[in-house]
Symmetry: C2
Subunit: 350 residues, 2 copies
DNA sequence: TGTTGGCACTCAAAGGGATAGAGTGCTAAT
DNA sequence: ATTAGCACTCTATCCCTTTGAGTGCCAACA
């Protein structure tokens, strides 16, 4: 069945009304608040059909209607119109994202913080996916006998390091040789093309004795692999407690319980991103509504992320988790604006 | 007024009972559940006096009594006896604190995580106070023109780094000279004795031209200062939502709202620590109950921390924030055991 | 003087209607 | 296709009563 024009308007109005009042919407209040030139009985018929199509539902027999997940989905896909933020709002965001930081990570944390404050919801960002970035420098510094620090500088101005154990009696000089050899042969290589074999081959040119060498090479390899692990920054969980949507302790507990496992959330975002890429979905937004989200306790939430770019091939995600009952157009423009600002500021680092 | 023996027992029983049942305790149930060889009327008299002394209070006229902050305080100071954890519990904790990590920070995070899981409350740890640790190494690595990485190795095996901006046309060689000069003259100095002047003096021995030199020295100084900033690790906020003590949305919101500002919590812990030191309070535990905690929304909480030691002069705090209505002796032994385990594992790093 | 049984009193919590009101579906007329 | 009208449904709210655990106080007792 197709949605005729009026039915679209009705659904639109129901979503708008429910989002702003948090009350199930009845045919009468719809007539009162919106300019439909028909009677409430007509709307009742329309609403019955919308319900039949699964776009709206009743909490109980004698209540008004609320949008279903499918209804929100229809709203988001075809009905809403996105407006730009007002200059004032834009300024507010620009001001908050402090751009004087020296590391990309701080910039991302900053943006996440801003997003949570401006939307009033939970915000999150993934660290950049560094697989496609390449090694610009790799140094191994001796910290003390048996311990060294592997420092890597990646394209896109990201610096990573890791403390590793090395054989006790390796000399400073030997370490520097190994470090130099690795750097010489791996510089310019994307991280996802560096394997244990590549690293071991790189180390062969040194005259360091085999077993010692091997351990160091392994540790260096592990450090490189760790560098492209994903981090997630989550912020503003407590804000959900102020929303009427989570006034039931049970829901709130489930939600925050799930969010507390940031690794799990990170994994999910990553999956979503990969799935979207495979589908060739190059929409810059990913929107998941209610049950579409495969995480426990997020049934009443919507999950919206955008992709930011650090370089052409290095990107990450930033977005929010809020109640399904949100002002989608507003929140999407906020995310979009933060993302754009982030992209702009990131140019300084590349 | 002094507490005679029976009154002590009564208070003890009231706290125990209230902690385990979460119900105000009446004179009759006290008689039923504990072996007082007197009548309920006698206990009523005692309870009236305990109330008069401010140790217990009534939620309303016809309810039983619950301990007041002062009552809990008395309980903690004089009444409770701390038992060791059972071997099984000890094993459980030892197993969870994964000691195979390579950095102190990870070890601390680990311990924090374990503490939250075993107590079921919010756990927190402060990073070690590094003011008294000394510089073992300082290297400045050129990342790209205009940007360098300052890497510091501190006594106690802590590694810190910071990306800094430097003048664009400084050469690799010049940077190395400066780096060497700073390292040479500051190695072995405690962080809190390093000032901008010390750093600038150290740099004088190089032949790098004045204005360029000055900027690098300033950035190096800033990096050193940043190294002794305190971090806080907070975990398990969501667990508070499962406690009946925070079944009111309002309380839960206030609590999590405050905890979400981790900088503020860190500042408070630090204040507490300093105050304790000034008073020469060398109890290894700091316990704050209810209103004693100068943080909004923690009126129904107790805040217990212990001090761990990375070296003789470098220490930090680890502990929990839970409901006032907690099994103090149990929680304290849990914190104590985690602290001891942490101390033991930390020896590997020093 | 400390202890006890007895008793009137208090108050939150739980249960049970009754009522109001917003909303619905259906039908018959337009 | 639209509308007015109407009977029906169901929650939320208010109010009233009952229940029961607990208290304070008094007079008697050891």
């Amino acid at each position: 069945m197709q949605l005729d024009n009026r039915k679209k308007e009705v659904l639109h109005a129901i979503v708008d009304d429910y989002v702003s009042t948090n009350e199930p919407v009845g045919s009468k209040s719809l007539i009162e608040r919106y300019n439909f030139n028909v009677s409430s009985a007509t709307l009742r018929n329309d609403m019955a059909e919308l319900e039949h199509m699964g776009l709206i539902e009743k909490p109980h027999t004698s209540a008004g209607r609320i949008p279903s997940d499918k209804g929100y989905r229809e709203y988001v896909n075809s009905l809403m119109t996105i407006e730009e933020l007002s200059p004032k709002e834009q300024l507010e965001i620009e001001k908050r994202i402090d751009s004087s930081v020296d590391e990309v990570t701080d910039l991302i944390k900053n943006a996440t913080h801003t997003l949570s404050e401006t939307t009033g919801f939970v915000s999150l960002a993934m660290s950049p996916r560094l697989k496609k970035s390449f090694l610009k420098q790799l140094k191994i510094l001796m910290i003390e006998p048996g311990k060294a620090l592997v420092v890597m500088v990646l394209s896109a101005g990201v610096v990573k390091d890791k403390v590793v154990r090395i054989p006790n009696f390796l000399s400073d000089e030997q370490i520097m040789k190994i470090s130099g050899a690795i750097e010489k042969s791996l510089t310019g290589k994307p991280l996802d093309e560096i394997t244990l074999v590549t690293v071991e081959t790189a180390g062969k040119s040194t005259d360091v004795p085999e077993p010692l060498l091997k351990q160091v090479l392994y540790e260096a390899y592990a450090a490189i692999k760790q560098a492209d692990e994903l981090n997630i920054y989550l912020e503003g969980e407590h804000r959900m407690l102020s929303l009427p949507d989570f006034s039931s302790l049970g829901r709130a507990r489930d939600l925050l319980g799930t969010l507390s496992d940031s690794g799990m959330v990170a994994g999910y975002v990553n999956e979503m991103e990969n799935a979207a890429r495979e589908q060739g979905n190059d929409d810059s937004f990913m929107i998941r509504i209610g049950q579409e989200i495969a995480l426990e306790g997020l049934d009443d939430c919507s999950f919206i992320t955008a992709t930011y770019n650090l370089t052409d091939s290095v990107s990450g995600n930033i977005g929010v988790i809020g109640p399904k009952r949100m002002l989608y157009s507003k929140v999407i423009s906020q995310i979009d604006f933060v993302k754009k600002k982030l992209n702009k500021e990131m140019q300084r680092f590349t």
